[in-house]
Symmetry: C2
Subunit: 245 residues, 2 copies
Amino acid sequence: MIHTVGRRKVDVPISCRDCARGSGTVYRGIHRSSPDQLTACRTQVRAIPSTRMLYRQGEIPQAIFSVHKGWLCRVRQISDRKKQILSFIIPGDTITFSSIFMPGQPLSYGVQSITDVVLCSFERDKFRQLLHQERQFTEPYHQDLAEYLESITCRLADLGQRSAKARIARLFLELHLRHAKRNLVADGGFDFPVSQALLANSLGMTKAYINRSISDLRQQGLVILEAGRLTIPDLARLQAYAERK
Amino acid sequence: MIHTVGRRKVDVPISCRDCARGSGTVYRGIHRSSPDQLTACRTQVRAIPSTRMLYRQGEIPQAIFSVHKGWLCRVRQISDRKKQILSFIIPGDTITFSSIFMPGQPLSYGVQSITDVVLCSFERDKFRQLLHQERQFTEPYHQDLAEYLESITCRLADLGQRSAKARIARLFLELHLRHAKRNLVADGGFDFPVSQALLANSLGMTKAYINRSISDLRQQGLVILEAGRLTIPDLARLQAYAERK
DNA sequence: CGCGCTTTTGAAAAGGCTCAAAATTGGTGG
DNA sequence: CCACCAATTTTGAGCCTTTTCAAAAGCGCG
């Protein structure tokens, strides 16, 4: 199964059974016990270029999209020229997973691709039914939902209570953790294709200042951010830094 | 059914049927069609004094509490001496309604009473069963959940993108709207028992500065805040103000 | 090689913070 | 009804983090 993104070829396993993402997704229960049922309700694998708006705020998603490759973000539109990034979506995430629980509710955010992306789409109602079939299928979903709430809540608290540098540190730590859970950390680092402009927006600060702040974190050896990769040499140290400063 | 809070007497309808809160709650569907089934799964009506911690972050709520009277807030503990108020809970709200959907998941926030409070508690599993009995019972729950997400998300965006005064304005507007929906607006205003210290915390600013900002809004005639009541003379004007400044 | 995008840097200004301390308010007990 | 205490609101002055607004420098790609 080969798809194209721009001019680049991308291949995805024909069956969900062999997909490396499976164990880190919201449907990991299904993936383990009956991967073929999963494949059966997958309707397509789509490649989408970067900077595309997948969903607009207020839309009602009909399909369930799981990210195979690439980053996206959830964005809230404030006005014509102001927006706020609410969260980053990484491989293994389900894009609009609040709509698994509340199908029919309009999205309270838009979704935008950051990089080129490969998505697997599932037939919404079939997928929901499958997920609710067994307790061990539903459980991971609840866990992930709780985790998402936790993450949003955490960001809110960080914006309210922490300094610019601490906010950066905490976002980096969260992303490291999420990548680790999905086996996406290699050599202590992971792909980090987010421009400083997006980063600034998501943390409620300006491009100029996030640049200075990151430089500072770099010079202190707390983070290594280069060539689209983020490495945190000493997690505990960065954590401690985020608590104090 | 009489209860005491401190030295003050409080009375609550014996049956949920006559409760003024019913139509604004998450169980409004049940309240309308079969209020007696609701009363049947109500286990008690409790009075709780102000400044009490009802739930600690990480606890797993066993009962479902609906607020009959008084304000509370959801709080995230950052460290020993730092915390962030995530949202305010007003009469008609369900305190831990995320646990209706995800029973067994630990709370990602603590809950604290702001004023003296009167709560109705419902037996968790009976309540959930009741709520899932009919589509028209579940629907309002989904709506409220979506609204809550919306509100958190909105606050996050406001902290990220707006000035201090705009943040205050928007919080006031949100609270006005929520009170209006529950028929708790009288003479254009509503009870507002929140100290500036709490307000400051919830909006990520300092006591001193929120005081100055509120004074300013007052002088511009945008809000009237006195004697524990908040009145917004001109909603549209305050809204417009929040967008620009 | 040149174009567009991202990162980096500078200088000045402002918004919001800190740390007090004073003034009000509301509730309590005598 | 008054006096008092604790909590809340208000005010002041100085400071610091973060913003603003450019403009320069780097980088990736065709």
